[in-house]
């Protein structure tokens, strides 16, 4: 049999063509879903999987294509067969036929009983077609596969790139989304902050305004609007003239312009008043420039608040202090007056009792003498007390003056011991004096030194019975280092440590010691307090006012020295008076301070210019003098009240003081007395400026204390300046001489 028979037996699988069954037994549609059920693979694995799927899909496609190509002609021709049922035995056979006769293949149909299916085919169909051999099919398939592979690879590459692009795009989108969110957040925060500050500035009870260069408001908070009477209305773009009277607006503009011109912050407290709108109010204001990005001043901003209450409190305090000072002065004045008034009748008591003692002797009524002596002694005692009170009140009222003179110390000591001798002898005590003859002179207030020594000696005697009292005097050289520390920066106020010329560095020490009852530390602590004695019982037992030591200490301090005590209970006490050899008051201008011979040619900027203190309650006059002096190059400090003036004089040690006489509270007289009583200010020359017509009495009171009296209205600024110039030059000369 030459022909080839293609059996299409559905059950004859084994003999069927090699491709058919293989392909159909594993349809790709079923395998893909199965794979898809598997859990998602990692990225690399997923790519591999996709690759495999693609391979499978393409392979399937290729196989299908080849099959189509292979079968196409046959299918196109279609079977040209006719079924013939031959014989029932089922034998198949065909006769030899010429080539042009169609061949008939007979196949027993086993399923259909004895029937035989006969297929007729033309001979061309049975012959193998041209392409059905390996030489065509293999290269074809390879070509197709190659093509498909290329397509696949390129698709794969494209997909990769596409995926990458997708990823990048996603990233970009995410970034954009994030930055937009950040921006929104920031905008929201800024807005919130701005609202916060806006609310703060709006609700702050202070005036906050901003103005442009032309004085028009660019920002106004609600407090400012309330002030300006623009409650709830807009003020932006308007200037001060919408609320302030022209004069005030002009003043405000002037201040603003100063800030605009100088670019400096301007701070001040000033009173403003707008009738019908703003009651008299003290405003503390701070004006500062507003600058643009290039630093140019483009406007002014002002912060201001009401300090009226503080001002009023300050004024009230000042007034209260002045009242208190005045009351204290009045008290001292009262004591002084009263002591004086008491002395006049006392004078008569002492005098008459003395006189009666004499007359009793003449008349032969000696029996009365002891009684008269008692009256006399009591009167003397009372006089002593009154004198003490007077002294103390004078010291406290600043009316105690020092009369400095040089005197011989040994002679003074002798005088005092002679006076106190009988007293000491009466108590059965022994007085021992040790005073070197070569002490040299002491410059101090002799009366006061005498009083202090007498006081200490009689005190020692009072508290010592059958004991020993010792008075010794010694000269103590102080280290010159102290001068350096004391003078420190020249020209500085040194109220605590007066600088004294070289010679006065040496001090004299007077020691008064006794072997008396002594004191406890507590008693020592209270010792120098006026009206206090070591113990209440002391007064009963020993008498005295308790003023003696307080006065003595103050006297010593006035002379630049001090009074100290060391005591031991039951052993006795030692009082030490230390006095500078030369109890000079401090010179008003230290010798080292440069003083101009020609005040005209000095620079006003130099800080070492002589300082002049102007004490005047009248602002106008004060201002006038101050300006004239400043212009001349002096440094000027001013005080509006007597008490303040005193404090400043002490603190600043000015080279000269100009003083108004008529002042409320502490008047010029009181100031003058206090200045002269204080060793730290006593030597500062004072020029009295007064509008009052001075009486003869007034002039006498001023005499010796005041360098020059200038009648207000009657003197010119030139005269005043000339006076001050003269004065400071003479002080400089004196300083040079020293």
């Amino acid at each position: 049999m030459q022909g080839q028979i293609y059996g299409f037996l559905p059950s004859g699988g084994k003999r069927a063509s090699r491709r058919g069954p293989t392909v159909w037994s594993a349809p790709p549609e079923r395998s893909v879903p199965a794979r898809r059920d598997s859990p998602p693979k990692p990225k690399g694995r997923r790519a591999l999987l996709a690759l495999r799927l693609a391979v499978a899909r393409h392979a399937l496609l290729a196989a299908f294509t080849i099959l189509l190509l292979a079968l196409a002609p046959a299918q196109a021709q279609g079977p040209v067969a006719t079924n013939h049922v031959l014989d029932p035995d089922g034998k198949t056979g065909y006769a030899e036929l010429p080539p042009n006769v169609p061949r008939i293949s007979l196949t027993p149909n086993r399923t259909k009983s004895k029937a035989l299916a006969v297929e007729h085919r033309s001979i061309d169909q049975i012959v193998t077609p041209w392409y059905a051999n390996a030489w065509v099919l293999v290269p074809g398939a390879c070509g197709i596969l190659g093509l498909l592979g290329w397509v696949f690879v390129s698709r794969l590459l494209y997909a990769n790139k596409r995926r990458e692009a997708e990823r990048l795009r996603g990233q970009m989108l995410e970034q954009e989304r994030q930055s937009r969110a950040a921006l929104q957040r920031e905008v929201a925060e800024r807005k919130k902050a701005e609202e916060y500050y806006q609310a703060l500035v709006e609700t702050i009870p202070h005036i906050v305004v901003r103005k442009d260069r032309d004085g028009r408001y660019t920002f106004v908070n609600s407090t400012s609007r309330d002030w300006a009477g623009f409650k709830g209305r807009d003020m932006l773009g308007k200037d001060d003239s919408v609320w302030a009277p022209p004069e005030l607006a002009r003043q405000i503009r002037q201040l603003d312009e100063e800030v605009l011109a100088t670019g400096k912050t301007l701070e001040m407290v000033r009173a403003i008043e707008v009738p019908g709108l703003v009651p008299r109010t003290f405003l503390h204001s701070i004006r500062s420039p507003i600058r643009d990005d290039y630093g140019n001043v483009v406007g002014v901003q002002m912060l201001a608040w009401d300090v009226t209450h503080e001002k009023e409190t300050e004024e009230a305090l000042r007034a209260a202090k002045e009242t208190a000072d005045a009351a204290n002065t009045a008290k001292s004045q009262f004591l002084a007056n009263m002591s004086h008034e008491l002395r006049t009748p006392l004078n008569a008591i002492i005098g008459y009792s003395e006189m009666l003692q004499e007359e009793a002797g003449d008349l032969g009524t000696q029996a009365l003498v002891p009684d008269l002596e008692k009256i006399h002694a009591a009167g003397k005692h009372l006089l002593g007390l009154i004198n003490d009170i007077l002294d103390l009140s004078k010291v406290e009222a600043g009316k105690m003056t020092l009369f400095l003179e040089s005197f011989d110390v040994p002679k003074l000591v002798q005088d005092v011991t002679t006076t106190v001798g009988p007293l000491v002898a009466k108590s059965g005590n022994q007085l021992e004096v040790q005073c070197p003859a070569d002490l040299g002179p002491l410059r101090a207030d002799q009366t006061k030194v005498r009083q202090v020594l007498f006081n200490l000696l009689s005190n020692a005697n009072k508290f010592t019975d059958q004991g020993r009292i010792r008075l010794s005097v010694e000269r103590v050289e102080r280290e010159s280092v102290e001068r350096v520390t004391a003078s420190g920066g020249t020209g500085q106020p040194r109220s605590h440590a007066p600088t004294l010329p070289r010679s006065t560095l040496n001090t004299l020490h007077f020691h008064v010691s006794d072997s008396g009852i002594g004191m406890t530390p507590e008693q020592v602590a209270r010792l120098f307090q006026p009206f206090t004695q070591a113990e209440a019982s002391t007064t009963r037992k020993y008498g005295g006012t308790g003023l003696g030591l307080a006065i003595s200490k103050r006297f010593c301090q006035m002379m630049g020295g001090d009074l100290t005590v060391a005591s031991e209970l039951g052993k006795g006490s030692t009082f030490t008076v230390s006095l500078p050899l030369e109890a000079r008051r401090e010179p008003a201008v230290p010798a080292s301070a440069p003083l101009p011979a020609e005040p005209d040619c000095q620079s006003p900027t130099a800080n070492r210019q002589p300082l002049v203190l102007v004490i005047d309650d009248e602002a106008g006059a004060r201002d006038l003098v101050q300006r004239a002096l400043t212009k001349e190059g002096y440094r000027v400090e001013s005080a509006v009240a007597g008490a303040e003036g005193l404090a400043l004089a002490r603190k600043l040690q000015p080279a000269a003081i100009t003083l108004d006489v008529m002042m409320p509270g502490m008047d010029g007289w009181a100031v003058l007395n206090a200045l002269k009583a204080d060793p730290f200010t006593a030597d500062i020359p004072v020029i009295v400026l007064t509008a009052k017509d001075l009486t003869e009495e007034d002039r006498r009171r001023l005499n010796g204390h005041v360098i020059q009296i200038l009648q207000k209205g009657g003197y010119s600024m030139g005269e005043l300046l000339e006076e001050i110039r003269k004065l400071l030059t003479s002080v400089a000369d004196v300083a040079k001489d020293i």
């Binding site: 005098g351 007359e359 006498r700």
Partner: protein
């Protein structure tokens, strides 16, 4: 002894001092205020004047100034007496022309010493 003019407004002090001075042998003229004293000094030319400073009508400072300005009374020594214990008083008294100064209450021996010494120098001065 001497003729002394005592110018004092306080009656008790005037009485006491005048009696005590008389006891020591002085002749005492009395005046009650500055103007009175000035007039009596001019009229009677005493050898010494004791002058209280706080006086009515004309005070002691002014009276002293006028006495010292008058050729007739210029040479009469004046002792200022004052109850003011203020140390400035002495200077003021001397400035007014007083030759000496004493404070009240008067310590008679001290005052007598001052009177003696002033009288001595003045009489000496007149003699020479």
């Amino acid at each position: 002894m001497a003729k002394i003019l005592l110018i004092e407004d306080n009656e008790m002090n005037r009485d006491m001092l005048s009696r005590r001075l008389q006891r020591h042998g002085h002749t005492v003229l009395l005046a009650v205020d500055g103007a009175d004293g000035l007039q009596k000094a001019r009229a009677q030319i005493p050898e010494l004047i004791l002058m209280d400073m706080s006086l009515p009508v004309m005070d002691g400072w002014e009276a002293t100034r006028q006495l010292k300005a008058d050729e007739a009374t210029r040479r009469i020594p004046v002792i200022a007496l004052t109850a003011h214990a203020m140390a400035t008083d002495e200077q003021q008294a001397r400035d007014a022309g007083c030759d000496d100064f004493d404070t009240k209450p008067i310590e008679l021996p001290r005052l007598l010493d001052k009177i003696e010494s002033l009288l001595k120098t003045c009489r000496g001065g007149i003699k020479t």
